[in-house]
Amino acid sequence: MRKESKRILFIEILLFLIALFSFIVFKSFKLITYILLLLGVFLLGVYLLGYERRNEKDNKDVILILLIFLLGYYFVTYGIGFFTGFLITGYSHRLMGILKNAVSNCFLFLFIELIRKVVVKKCKYNSNQLLIVSIVIISFIELVSVTTLSNIQNNRSIVEAIFSFLQIFSKNILLTYLVYHYSVITAIVYRGFMDILIYVIPIVPNFGDYINHIIAIVYPIVILFSINIYFSSSRKKISNSRLEVKLKKIRLASSFFLMFFLLLMVSLVSGAFRYQALTIGSGSMKTAINIGDVVIVDKKERIYKLGEIIAYKHDERILVHRIVEVTKNGDIYTYKTKGDNNENIDNWVIKQDDIIGVTNFKLKYIGWPTVKLSEWIIGGD
């Protein structure tokens, strides 16, 4: 291993230990302590690895593209928010509170980006593995500013911490890409819009937790793709070789298939559109629907018929049972249901408003990971 690689590894291990120490020891996150520790690591990094001042020639173009994406993000999401509604953020809305939050986090993100620059620019001449390790460790550093071990009290909070990590990791791939190929300024621009404005704007669009998480994961990757494709295509030599054209077509088809699959999955899981996927975790509908099956629910409102299998909300749960009784009282329809595998009819009446939709399609066993994870979460509560 080269001497420089050893130094990069040393800085990364030091960062990891600081993050781990803070994660375990801090009962509540001490921002100022953390910032001072990161400042120390940055200075040590500059001493060991130096500070490269050279910037790439595409810097201004990249910042322009970033600004288009970031402003577009706010226009589109807040525009849609007028239809979906807004949520008030949990941060302080007093001027002093906003300034305190924004300024302290500015310092935190500034030092994280400066450390990234010192480490990542040197990785350019050393090892890809070190680069990937640095993305993971810097993501962990940032995770500690969101949660600490004292917040993790059950299996549910472990899963929530993993949610946070995935979002942070996705963002850090983009930020590392920007610093690696362009300059630290590009990463700071991104941070300013996506990580600091949240303390200033008191409302956020209400898309629900799932869609918000998905946007936070997907959007940085979309920006990375766009910048990568834009600059590589503007530099690429035109090639007419048949093999290359064929490979390009295969790559394009795979990309479209992947995009379609992910979009389909997100729309089904979120239930934002007409069809919603629900995982079955009980054997009450055996043998029509088994544990681990995923049913696709058609949410189109209508009067339901005897014998149809419906998904409905009851007592803060979602049940999937068969209609065994339909009662009409004026214009009001009520229903009674029963699980095929249950002996008794369910002891409650279901109103039309409680019904999510009717199930007429199922995918066998693909919901097993969800069932097992759900059992693990419930078991740890």
Binding site: H181, V269, I318, V320, N329, T370, I377, I378
Partner: protein, 189 residues
């Protein structure tokens, strides 16, 4: 890492892994996967029923007793002829099952008045703006969502229909009032 390939592979892997795992975890956390099975419910019974129906009136109001079944009170009919007239139905709601119940939903529709004479619209407006109907417990507390009805307990309720005593206008002809429906749906607590 090469400008194109390496970053693209890393991004795609991270994207697919993150979206897949997030979707699985979200489904596990948000959907309710425990469905009450037969074993838990066999020993329990579920029944809420109405009983002990009575009615009283004030002023010159007259009434007909509604049809009473275990689960509903249907087709009540009252005649209110002047301000201050009222009819009060009293009845018991009893949880004769073995499971505690909670009033999940109480739905009260708005009355619909239909005039029958030459001043039909005006008459209808006069009546609808002066008629009140309320559902209360015997002690005067308003019946509302999430009220408990534990197993083996009985609660007395009163349904009052009244013509506002402060009303200064009276309809010229008869007015039919429909839509005085109250639906109570009890769920397992």
């Amino acid at each position: 890492m090469r400008r194109n390939k390496g970053w693209m592979i890393l991004s795609v892997v991270a994207l697919v892994f993150s979206v897949l795992s997030l979707s699985i975890a979200y489904a596990a956390m948000s959907e309710t996967l425990k469905i009450t099975g037969t074993a838990n419910m066999e020993a329990a019974t579920w029944k809420i029923k109405f009983s002990n129906l009575n009615a009283t009136s004030t002023g010159s109001a007259t009434y007909e007793l509604p049809t009473i079944s275990d689960t509903s009170l249907l087709d009540y009919s009252v005649t209110l002829t002047k301000p201050g007239d009222s009819v009060t139905y009293t009845f018991d709601v009893e949880n004769v099952g073995t499971i505690d119940a909670i009033l999940g939903t109480i739905t009260k529709t708005s009355p619909v008045c239909t005039g029958n004479g030459v001043n039909a619209t005006q008459d209808a407006n006069i009546v609808c703006s002066n008629i009140t109907y309320t559902l209360q417990y015997a002690d005067g507390t308003i019946v509302s969502n999430n009220d408990l009805l534990d197993q083996g307990t009985t609660k007395s309720m009163k349904l009052e229909l009244a013509y506002n005593s402060a009303a200064t206008q009276l309809p010229v002809d008869d007015v039919t009032v429909n839509g005085l429906d109250i639906t109570m749906i009890y769920n397992q607590k």
